[in-house]
């Protein structure tokens, strides 16, 4: 399965997202922000980083890139799209999913191995998990605080659009401990933590079993491959 990973000026985790796709058994395809060419991919990842230096607002300038028009069209037509961290911010700026992000409540960049609970295991990117499953995914950002107005939060919660929630520690002051969100259809998912950093033994978070052995993130990428096979 061809999975596109878009590189914007300032993208940092694009190569890591490509590696994750490869390890999951897919074929990563590099996409360029300035093109209108999705190269026939079947899913798209907007990776983490500091696109455009987070200038104006994190993800804002990227959301106006030429390729985002194509990404939006594809998403509206049902293509699976995953936004990781900065990618989540871009999806929110592009209004593909609800909410917005501001500076972490404590004003600092934070990197930690974050425990999450999977709230919605039906989306294109989470169908490999079970609802209520707890996973550990690395988190690293400065502008990760999820915010939405009361009405929107109510809607997201009510309609099962919360994809992940922080467990134990809310690392950035996100409303309702929301760590990730999906659209109504379940093909577009955004989350703050970085699943692409928990896909390879020896390079993921520590687990009780062994140092750096956590690979909970791999399921994101195998999920979308499974979903494609099922179609």
């Amino acid at each position: 399965m061809r999975v596109g990973v878009v590189t914007f000026p300032g993208s940092l985790d694009d190569r890591d997202a490509q590696r994750a796709v490869r390890l999951a058994g897919g074929e990563p395809v590099a996409l360029w922000h300035g093109d209108h060419d999705l190269k026939g991919v079947e899913a798209i990842i907007l990776p983490g980083g500091f696109s455009y230096g987070d200038y104006l607002r994190a993800g804002a300038i990227a959301s106006f890139s030429p390729i985002m028009a194509d990404v939006v069209d594809a998403a509206n037509a049902g293509m699976p799209v995953l936004g990781i961290c900065n990618g989540f911010q871009m999806l929110a700026e592009a209004r593909l999913i609800p909410g917005a992000h501001t500076r972490n409540a404590h004003q600092q960049f934070i990197r930690r191995d974050q425990r999450l609970v999977v709230e919605n295991a039906r989306t294109d990117w989470t169908n490999g998990f079970t609802e209520g499953q707890e996973i550990t995914i690395p988190l690293k950002n400065a502008d990760g605080r999820f915010i939405a107005d009361a009405e929107t939060v109510k809607r997201i919660e009510g309609e099962g659009q919360v994809a992940f929630r922080y467990v134990g520690v809310n690392p950035n002051g996100s409303m309702d401990d929301i760590a990730g969100v999906t659209n109504a259809r379940g093909n577009v998912v955004g989350l703050m933590p970085h699943p692409e950093h928990a896909v390879e033994e020896g390079f993921g978070p520590d687990t009780p079993a062994a140092m750096s052995s956590g690979v909970d993130g791999l399921t994101f990428f195998t999920s979308v491959l499974e979903r494609a096979l099922a179609k």
């Binding site: 000026p9 300032g10 940092l12 985790d13 190569r15 890591d16 590696r19 300035g34 980083g49 500091f50 455009y52 230096g53 987070d54 200038y55 972490n104 404590h106 600092q108 960049f109 934070i110 990197r111 930690r112 690395p138 690293k140 400065a142 520690v169 690392p171 970085h194 692409e196 950093h197 390879e200 020896g202 390079f203 520590d206 062994a210 140092m211 750096s212």
Partner: protein
Amino acid sequence: MTDQTDRAPHDAEMIDVRPEGHVPDTVANAAATPDREQPYGALGLKADEYAKIREILGRRPTSGELAMYSVMWSEHCSYKSSKIYLRQFGQKVSPAMKKNLMVGMGENAGVVDVGGGWAVTFKVESHNHPSYIEPFQGAATGVGGIVRDIISMGARPVAVMDQLRFGDIDAPDTARVVDGVVGGISFYANCLGLPNIGGETYFDAVYQGNPLVNALAVGVLRHEDLHLANARGVGNKVVLFGARTGGDGIGGASILASDTFSSGGPTKRPAVQVGDPFAEKVLIECCLELFRDELVEGIQDLGAAGISCATSELASNGDGGMFIELDNVLLRDPSLTAEEILMSESQERMMAVVRPEKLDAFLAVVAKWDVETSVLGEVTDTGRLVINWHGEEIVNVEPRTVAVDGPVYERPVAYPSWIDALQADSASSLPRPTGNAVLREQFLELLGSPNLADKSWVTNQYDTYVLGNTALSFPDDGGMIRVDEETGLGFAIATDANGRYCQLDPKQGARLALAEAYRNVAVTGAVPAAVTDCLNFGSPEDPEVMWQFSQAVEGLADGCLELEIPVTGGNVSFYNQTGTRPIHPTPVVGVLGVIDDVAKRIPSGWQDEGDNIYLLGTTSLELDGSAWAGVVHDHLGGRPPAVDLAAEAQLAQLLHAGGDQSLIAAAHDLSDGGLAQALAEAVMRFGVGARVWLGEVLERDGIDVATALFSESTGRVIVSVPREDDVRFRGLCEGRGYPVARIGVTDAQSGSLEVQDVFTVSVDELRSTHRGTLPARFGATIGE
């Protein structure tokens, strides 16, 4: 032509580095007006240096030339006070040391062959003075600068590490500096997408007005991608690309780094640069694409002294001639004078030498990344660096006189008047605790002391995951990065320094720093291969400081020769003093090692139940300059611990063999705080307890319990070995004849560190003691 009369009137108290007159001083004018007064003193040049410049040129320098010489001949750029000593790094070199060295000293960074067609480039640099004035931007641009040095070798930067030294942790100003520096490093490095994989954070009152911010970066490249900073090929274009040039840091090199702060005196003109890591990230990707497409013949990054430095260095290293139209420089501030453009230290700029036939392709790549660029000129065969402004020659120099053949000083050296008394005041005369309660109390006091305490407050602000190749990072002893995803080939890197040891004996202190960094690489399972250094000292105009410097360099050079690992490059930072009080001599030594497969890496703490714990090496009474002496008795005196580099090499080989054969589950070196601290750290690493007994060691080495726990004898490592590997491990040690004693066993059930017949401390108490110190001063550690 820009009308320059409407520029803002400048503060009369600021040093005006602009020469008088709005019209730049041409070469013709300089020849015609030999008696014009020139402000060489304000630019940092001494009278004899100015005279020398006149002699070299055969006339007075133009204002532009004066500006160039003044920055390039400053201490920071020319190493004039240190050159005669640094030569040792290039001279004390054996054939074995040259074997894997692809690029040695003198280039932007050293390059080491690590096998499989891969090379690693690394270097450490200082950005001390700017980080005191403006901690955030000072530290941020320090990271930016060292990363650009790595890019300019043709490498992709893959990791950073920082060595930070601040004043007293409780002094009010310290929090300001700590907040800014850590924030700045976090901001810049995270935005570049570089994992921060180690380093040190240290507090001592001697650094109060002179914090040390050293930044190290490592890059990886294929052999064929190696680029050097030379301008070869007559007719090749000289291209400036990256950020536009503005008024950043004008005169920073000559004025800021080459002069001390007088306490309470008026601050010098703020010449601190502001960094834009996004611009640098884009520059990294742009450069890598240029390298991949082979569009660049030579490349140089712009740092201290900006265009003056880049042009003169490129020209010196190449065919010797270059012609530049300074008007072609893209400006952020159109009111800059020609001299200011030459001296500007605007960040995120690179200079490349490009074949004319490749220029279009070059410009296409640069445009793709939205990076601005302009062709400034070309390589010539005249042997002169000629710079024109508005059609007239304002600079015409022989580039080597600017960049290479700067002044070489032989500063007076004087044996310090105070050192004999200091060395006679040994810590062995201090009362050592004998009762268990006091031993336990002092152990915890050390564990919670600022320099031994947990640094998560700092390191939680750094990305360690980006690029997906981080095999080891803090709190392990060295950082380790995978280079080849197929074979697992990787490198390890560690940095160390101990200003207290160096104050007692700078030569020995430098050797100790080298031994410790070497050992820190060895405990990860890697083989030490090369060295970089950042030498932080007081004023070179103080003969006692020069003595310290000369001793430290000699100690380091001799040590490297003994260990057969070369110094590949580094940095000297002088003038770290307020008034007449210099900092402790603080040479930071970085050691790079190579590991065949990062899967063989060894963490610093044990994870399993029932492993045997061994202490490698012997212990004697060596508390002088120790953490124990400092924390418990506020004492600094005596002679630092002895170093046996041959033994360290033996130990390293033993560790490598053990790691290679997967016999060693954990290895942690002993240094500050001695055995007690090492045991605590190994327990806290994964929260697995241990039962330890000291009887055999006390008897074999003839020492008391306090010495066993707190002495800082070198050549020692604790390892944990799984039961099934025990026999083979012992065989390994016996075969190599290295002293080894079984001192304990790991105990996951106990939830504590028990030193039998001495004290027991629960993992919870260890952690709460260890983790409380920095948050108490700087705010809660987020996410704990």
